[in-house]
Amino acid sequence: MKFLLIIFYVLLISQPCNSQLFIGANAGTTFNYLNTNITNRTYTVNEPKYGYCGGLNVKYHLTGSFNLASGVLYAQKNYSFVRTNNYAGIFHTTTSSYLQIPVLIQLQASIKTIEICLNAGVYGAYWLYAYTSGVMPNILNSTNRVDNNGEIFQKLTLTQYSEKYQFSYKRDNRLEYGLQTGVTVNFNMKNNAKLFCDIAYMHSLTDTQKQYMANQTRKTNQTIGLSLGYLMQLHNGKK
């Protein structure tokens, strides 16, 4: 939050004559993939999962075709390990919520009332909380039964779970930073307001785990965000 306030403060006090400052809000969906290696886990696939995102946006016109964009964003970065074949029905899903601050340079081109912006920059995020849910085999609830041929077969009982993820100081790295790129399309409206559609790709450079063991397999988030938003001009400095 301090970082966001600093950005606001810098933008407000260093406003040049031709500057334009927009603030707004957006909401949408995320699609996250946990980049890791689980090839040793039999009948298991690593599936990306959808989530939600939304936040407050700040856009500051720098000069010519360039804007500075930032804000504060809530983003879910979810993933699931799903069992297949004989173990179909078993899965482990992690739903993680992050508070994220991007700092992006926008290269803008205009066609009539439409602005197309190419975005590139960095982001920092904090892992707020998470939930785990899924279905797992429960061998202590399982029983063997005899089939019609007299053969014993194991009746594997599956147990559902859903609970808040307990962060471990030793294991979990709750700070994340990475690179962000994407495209924003602005639709200019009356009164210098804009409706926008934004697609962003966020590539974490940090592991979701601390380096707590040797030969550790990395786990990094790779997230696509798609959102719609609204920006309104806070100040028009043209004289």
């Binding site: 890791t36 360039f66 085999p137 061998i139 399982s142 029983t143 194991q154 707590y212 990395r218």
Partner: protein, 380 residues
């Protein structure tokens, strides 16, 4: 300026398509001791379920033993024996009491490592198994008992009435359901039918039940539900299990409830149940002790159990537990952690008795079973 922005965008997009992930070791046929150790060490990271409570510094093990294994020659028998000693050293502190290594390589076949047994043999009060059944027979009503053996499985079961007031059942290991459901007749089945029939038709003269799992090293997991399910008519929550959820040492599933469901015809046994256990009661025997303790009317007499509480199953079920390194070794390790209803993990500790009565060889020599006599005195 535009070139700078273009470069920035290109760099950012490039990062999308490049990532560096360390491949985990998956090795079928090792060609050197370095490969064997790497495969073993990595499999332990993934498959061992006690990393959150085991104090072994596994990274330190890697840095110490990786260079040592690298110096060994896989074709040299002396080096192969040295590798066994290295494995013995590096596993000595692991708390999983199911943990053992057997070697499948012809140079060292027959070598066996069991850290838990090695530790227990050094403890005061350690004793080897004693088969109580002939002694217990002397306490049973001579005309109302059933004794069964299944010699190919080294399984003995015994049931009967003591003093016309106590129903007794004991078994040396668990393969009960398998034999009970067998199409062919066998002595174990006969004894189980005798016991379950008595249990389902308890008359008022029976004041208590003694379940004897002393020296019982465990066995088939399904016997837990099959046997205890005859004592309940509603599900019995007796603990929790937890398995690995990922490859990291500290990747775990949540704890899920371990519940025993009633068997068909199961009745809620409300008279006192006394379980006899000793420090050789292991694995499923301990789970049975803890399941009965979750009932309000159970007392445990004897010694601490063995402390091998984590259940075993096939590796594929949880993607953890036992694993093999082809043509070299088999590693047995628990598939799950078990936590009793009281919130304690008794692995490597053993479940404590309510009344401590130690193994007494002098009394046994006088044909006196002091643990059984204590149980009888409580019911009377």
């Amino acid at each position: 300026m535009h070139k700078t922005i273009l470069l920035l965008l290109l760099l950012t997009f490039a990062s999308v398509f490049t990532s560096c992930e360390k491949e985990s070791t998956t090795l079928n046929t090792p060609t050197s001791f370095s490969e064997i150790f790497e495969a073993y060490w990595n499999s332990m990271n993934t498959n061992y379920v006690y990393w959150d409570i085991d104090t072994t510094d596994w990274d330190e093990i890697y840095y110490k033993y990786q260079p040592a294994f690298a110096k060994l020659d896989i074709t040299n028998q002396t080096d192969a024996i040295t590798s066994v000693e290295y494995f013995r050293e590096l596993t000595q502190g692991l708390i999983d009491s199911h943990y053992h290594i057997s070697f499948t390589n012809t140079l060292i076949s027959g070598y066996f490592i069991n850290p838990s047994v090695t530790r227990k043999q050094k403890l005061p009060g350690f004793h080897y198994p004693y088969s109580y059944y002939q002694l217990v027979l002397e306490y049973l009503d001579k005309t109302d008992n059933s004794f069964g053996q299944y010699k190919t499985e080294q399984l003995t079961v015994l049931s009967g009435i003591i003093d016309n007031k106590i129903l007794y059942f004991g078994c040396s290991k668990f393969k009960l359901y398998s034999l009970y459901s067998s199409a062919s007749e066998n002595d174990v089945k006969t004894t189980l039918q005798y016991f379950f029939n008595k249990l389902a038709n308890l008359n008022e003269t029976v004041k208590g039940i003694i379940i004897d799992v002393r020296g019982n090293s465990g066995g088939d997991l399904e016997d837990l539900n099959f046997f205890v399910g005859h004592f309940i008519n509603t599900p019995l929550h007796f603990g929790f299990t937890q398995a690995k959820s990922g490859n990291g040492r500290l990747d775990f599933t949540p704890w899920v409830k371990a519940v025993i469901n009633p068997e068909n015809g199961g009745t809620d046994i409300t008279i006192p149940i006394i379980v006899l256990a000793d420090n050789l009661s292991a694995s499923l025997s301990e789970l049975l002790v803890m399941a009965f303790k979750a009932k309000y009317n159970c007392t445990v007499i004897g010694e601490n159990t063995a402390g091998a509480t984590g259940p075993l199953t096939q590796t594929k079920v949880y993607n953890d537990g036992q694993f093999d390194i082809e043509n070299y070794m088999h590693v047995q390790t628990s598939s799950c952690k078990f936590k009793h209803l009281d919130g304690i993990i008794y692995e490597n500790i053993g479940f404590p008795p309510d009344i401590y009565v130690p193994y007494n060889p002098n009394a046994i020599n006088r044909r006196k079973d002091s643990q059984l006599e204590k149980a009888i005195s409580l019911i009377k």
